[in-house]
Amino acid sequence: MRRVLGYRKSYSIRTTRPLRKPLGGALCAAAAALLLVTMTANPLLAAGPPIFGFESVGFEVTLNGKELEGAEVYQAESAGAFLILSEDLAAPVLLRLRDGQVETLNLMKVNHNSNGSVDVLAGATLAAQGGFQVNSDRTGIVFTVDGQTAELKEKPPLLGSQQAAGLKAYDPHYERTAEAYSPSDPIVEKLRQQDQEVKVSVFFGTWCGACKQMVPRIIAVADRLEGSKITFDFYGLPPGIAGDKEAGRMGISAVPTGVVFVDGKEAGRISGNGWRVPELAINNLLVNGQS
């Protein structure tokens, strides 16, 4: 059993199956008839199809211009839908992008699975809220929920010095993709045994397409090397790299670029194809001076 988080009221929901109560056949039929009558009478209500596999994503939500702290945003790519859960919203909000529809639904039909994903169960009563528009800077969409203006948009770039945990918190994609990468055990073991103080400063951009693929692999290696003498620091840069002071000071012209310091002195850099196997690149740099 899991508690649905983010709401003042908590509801107990089974992990894999919809909530069911032992109802008699007559009661069941009456409830269905009532639902049918309600929906026929109110064209803004409809019974939605189930949508499975919503995954947590790193987006932010504002309501009347104010950020909703603690809002949970989930995306089901296959269905082209987003789901927003927040205690500041009267009900979960379902955005079906392909249909251009914004709807609210009953919380009882939102099921949290043990793997962190979320399902919208069959028969959820969807209350239409209207359509949506892409916002002016193309980073998200604006819509109305219960007469209030809401916005779902990409988070601003993560800037400055960060730890791996900070990246995972910024966007769960980093954690999911990192988990999918398995660093080579022998190389990791070799790296764990080396006795010099090594710091790998990874300059990256949350806006950079290549970084989205490569940084999770580096995070996976950082996770495996936790507790060793090799530490990682992730430095987020803005889209105009050249304008950033730290990037200028370090001579960073492309991301992701890793600057490897051994006992406080720069030993070399890793970039481009060097990140194909990050643990190998670090090891090569420490052993041969080249990634």
Partner: protein, 319 residues
């Protein structure tokens, strides 16, 4: 007007042979370069614009005139014509090419452009850094040009027939270039063809530590089957097909579907919000994708890290 031969001494026939061989070689270099550009004239027109050589805003006309000149001079040199009215414009053209590659090299050395912005003088057939382009052109063009001036004999009668042949072939080549975008020549005209490994599709040269290849960018391509569509995300045919691509992508999980794009971050974001793709949209450097297509969309199938099939449009019929 006639020109005095550099050396017409019958005692040194090898000098004449050397001169002819050099002219033929230079002509072949021109023709190979023209072939590369004729296969993908749209890209050549873009290059003319990028180099700001589109006089009076007529980039297409400028491109076709330049192409015609290169072909005509190439044919003239290959057929052994070494008259002053061939060699003078040849020297001018070589000087112009060297100016372009030299300027790009200077800009690269001064950090004004990156290494992927070299002269695309051979179309998509060669990927060269600004430094490589300059030094290769210097050796491939200047040396044979200099040698083609030696051992020229007395100029005889006006070569009317040869000129007619050259004119005819040049006209035919220009018609070919005009029609080339509609001809099924993508595999020939680009670096993307069956048999190419994803590790060979790169942005940047091997010497560049920042070189990025497709196998690093998308490690998933190393195993399994993946259809990859190259797109700017705004082609009408692509946008119309998005629902079909979504449906195919969600209906099976054996074959991956990826869109590789060099579109701006804003365009990618707009696409995601308006189309809600069920497939992966991966941003890639323009330098990586530039030599993989003549027009968009273009698609290819990757199996275990190797390109096994290419499609000049969307792979809808393959689904």
């Amino acid at each position: 007007m006639t020109t005095e031969p550099f050396d017409s001494s019958p005692s040194q026939p090898w000098i004449r042979v050397l001169g002819i061989a050099a002219a033929v070689f230079l002509g072949l270099v021109f023709l190979v370069a023209a072939w590369g550009k004729a296969l993908d004239p749209v890209s050549f027109v873009e290059q003319i614009r990028a180099e700001r050589l589109d006089f009076f805003g007529l980039a297409e006309a400028t491109a076709f005139m330049a192409l015609g000149l290169e072909i005509a001079l190439g044919l003239a040199l290959v057929t052994g014509l070494r008259r002053w009215w061939v060699l003078a414009p040849t020297a001018a053209l070589v000087t112009f090419f060297l100016f372009l590659t030299g300027r790009a090299y200077w800009r690269f050395e001064h950090g004004l452009i990156d290494e992927t912005e070299a002269c695309n003088c051979f179309g998509n057939l060669l990927n060269r850094t600004p430094k490589e382009a300059f030094w290769q052109d210097l050796w491939l063009l200047v040396v044979p040009l200099g040698l083609s001036l030696v051992g020229r004999g007395r100029e005889g009668a006006f070569p009317k027939r040869r000129l007619m042949l050259i004119g005819g072939l040049t006209a035919a080549a220009l018609v070919f270039a005009w029609k080339a975008p509609d001809l099924p020549l993508d595999d020939l005209a680009t670096r993307l063809k069956p048999g190419v490994g994803v590790s060979e599709i790169c942005a940047g040269s091997e010497e560049n530590p920042e070189q990025l290849c497709l196998d690093t960018l998308v490690s998933d391509f190393g195993a399994g089957k993946h259809w990859v569509v190259l797109s700017d995300l705004d082609e009408p045919t692509f946008l119309e097909a998005v629902p079909q691509l979504n449906e195919w992508s969600t209906s099976q999980s054996e074959i991956g579907l990826w869109i590789l794009t060099a579109a701006s971050a804003e365009a990618v974001s707009t696409f995601r919000w308006t189309q809600a793709p069920a497939f992966a949209v991966q941003e890639a450097p323009y330098a990586m994708l530039r030599s993989l297509h003549r027009r968009l969309p273009r698609s290819f199938l990757v199996e275990d890290g190797e390109v096994t099939r290419t499609v000049s449009d969307l792979p809808l019929t393959e689904f």
